[in-house]
């Protein structure tokens, strides 16, 4: 475990109590390490536990047991407010359904993480504008989501995810609501962001989307089924946590 590890999950277990004696074991001991500037795809069929894993990595949820270190800080026992701060500063979310605020224009949507981060107004506007320019939407900043195409909406969401310069970009089926051409454009944007040094975690069930990543982690029945690095083969990380 060296310092460049952004995410370190050790024996993560997540159990949902469905009332009564019934329990659902969503994760049954997942261990995984993700280093800075990795491009990882997490794959698995529905019900495999990949959404639960994503929620835990994204600090939206806490594990029932196990250790989760984010940038060497233990987040598995943080309270709601501390988690909110980690989400705000360190994690950029990109969702399948974009999840933009419908009544706000692109600029305000991108500004939102900065507002919650306590950045002053002038600084906020400048940074939000830069982030939108970075994803190629410099001329659309005052458009509302319903005035933008699907691809453009997802770019706004990516700009919002990047604006606080987070440690990881967490994308959940980012092309799921897009046609294949627009989906490809978004995937190219991710590759470019990866080249620029961002750490990207992609959650998907589409094989061809996962192939864009440089490492694929497959989940089944709440456990890691396989963990393979493609292109750059680094055997040290392969098959770990099995």
């Amino acid at each position: 475990m060296n310092n460049s590890e952004v995410i370190n999950l050790q024996q993560i277990i997540k159990t949902y109590d469905m009332g009564g004696a019934e329990e659902v074991h969503a994760l049954r001991g997942v261990s995984i390490q993700i280093r800075k500037n990795e491009y990882v795809a997490i794959m698995g069929p529905s019900g495999s536990g990949k959404s639960t894993l994503m929620n835990i990595i994204g600090c939206l949820d806490t594990p029932t047991s196990g250790l989760y270190e984010f940038n060497s800080v233990n987040v598995s026992e943080m309270n709601d407010n501390q988690l909110a701060k980690v989400r705000n500063k360190e994690i950029g979310f990109v969702f399948q359904t974009f999840n933009l605020l419908a009544r706000s224009d692109a600029l305000h949507n991108v500004e939102l993480p900065l507002i919650y981060g306590g950045v002053t107004s002038a600084d906020r506007k400048r940074r939000a504008r830069e982030a939108l320019e970075h994803v190629g939407l410099g001329d659309r900043i005052h458009h509302k989501p319903n005035e933008l195409s699907g691809g453009q909406r997802q770019r706004v969401a990516i700009a919002r995810a990047l604006v606080n310069q987070p440690s990881i970009l967490l994308a959940d089926e980012p092309t799921g609501n897009l046609d294949s051409k627009t989906g490809d454009e978004i995937m190219q944007l991710f590759e470019e962001l990866h080249r620029q040094g961002n750490t990207i975690i992609l959650v998907t069930h589409e094989e061809y989307i996962a192939e864009h990543a440089h490492r694929i982690v497959r989940i089944r029945d709440g456990m890691i089924e396989s963990d393979q690095t493609i292109n750059k083969r680094t055997p040290a990380l392969a098959d770990q946590g099995r």
Partner: protein, 407 residues
Amino acid sequence: MYFLFEVKEGLYIAFRAIKANKMRSVLTTLGIVIGIVSVTMMATAIEGVTRAFEKSASAFGSKVLYIQKFPWVGGDDWWRYRNRKELKAEFAKYIAEHASLVDAVAPDVTTFKDVRYGTRSMLNAWITGTTHEYQEASGTTIKDGRFFSQEESDGGRPVCCIGANVAETIFPSVDPIGQTVKVGGYPYKVLAVFEKQGGLFGEFTSDNRVFIPIRSFMSQFGSHHDVTLNVRVAKDVDIDNAKEELRGIMRKLRRLRPAQEDDFNINEQELLTQVFGAVTGVIAAVGFFITGLSLFVGGIGIMNIMYVSVTERTKEIGIRKAIGARRRTILFQFLVESALICLLGGIIGLMVSYPLSLIADQILPTAMPVSVVILALFVSLLVGVVSGFLPAYRASKLDPVEALRYE
């Protein structure tokens, strides 16, 4: 700094939400508007009644004491007062000679008689027999003419001074001064007309009265009537000291032993004010409770709509939480929204009730006190915060994972 961002963002979101649901916001606000209108109108009405009372009570003069057989208030033992000895008109002279703290003393006796002039008449007008000192003692002002002199008073001359309403009734088009009216069948020459006093105690003011010399009164209408002694307290003399002095003189006149109770009462305007204060206090309490209920109902409306708003925006709350909004931020956002709706309701309510108070002013002179305006705004803000709290708290406690999944 962070807090300021939250306020600004909260207001921004609130305005957006209100704009997006115009009809709903209007209907919800209506509850608060009605509540604020009824509460402020209640306050304005009470203010009007109080003012009218103060104006009316001033007709009695704050520096006039009335020595009478019956007390004005608290007369719970009627028989005891009934059996007291009558006061005598002659006491006035004795008091005037022996009291050092009073300026003037005038006795008065009263009965009801018809007053006629030609074909016009006022039935059952209040006829008061008194002396030339009455005007000074009671502090009434004459509009036109002069009060009767000591000679006219002592000589029991057929002269009279009439109240404003009497003049209006029987002399609609003729100048009353110098005319002769029939009081209970006897002719009297009108010397003066009084200034109109108005107010709630019309019967007791000079407006409906005809004043004649007490000697004429006694010889024509009998001497068995209750006498009231009107005493004007001297300037710069404390009214309680004057009262004490009068009491001493009266007890001496009545030859009361130290152990005996007073067999007379010294009344003053202050007594009425106290009773009235207690009455308005009760009216205000009941009135504000009832009108407060409408505000309460308005508050429930706000709470209901805020619950709807929170449920509708579950997804939005999830998004905000995912990108770093804390519980407190979400709580605050919804509190600002409900407070803003209520504050707008309060402002609209005041804009409605202010013109209404101007209309009310035509009937009962009143004005909306500034304190009521400030209080109304504060109360509407408070209603917003209180009724918005539970929905906002529920929003703040939403689980981000669940909220994001909500469609």
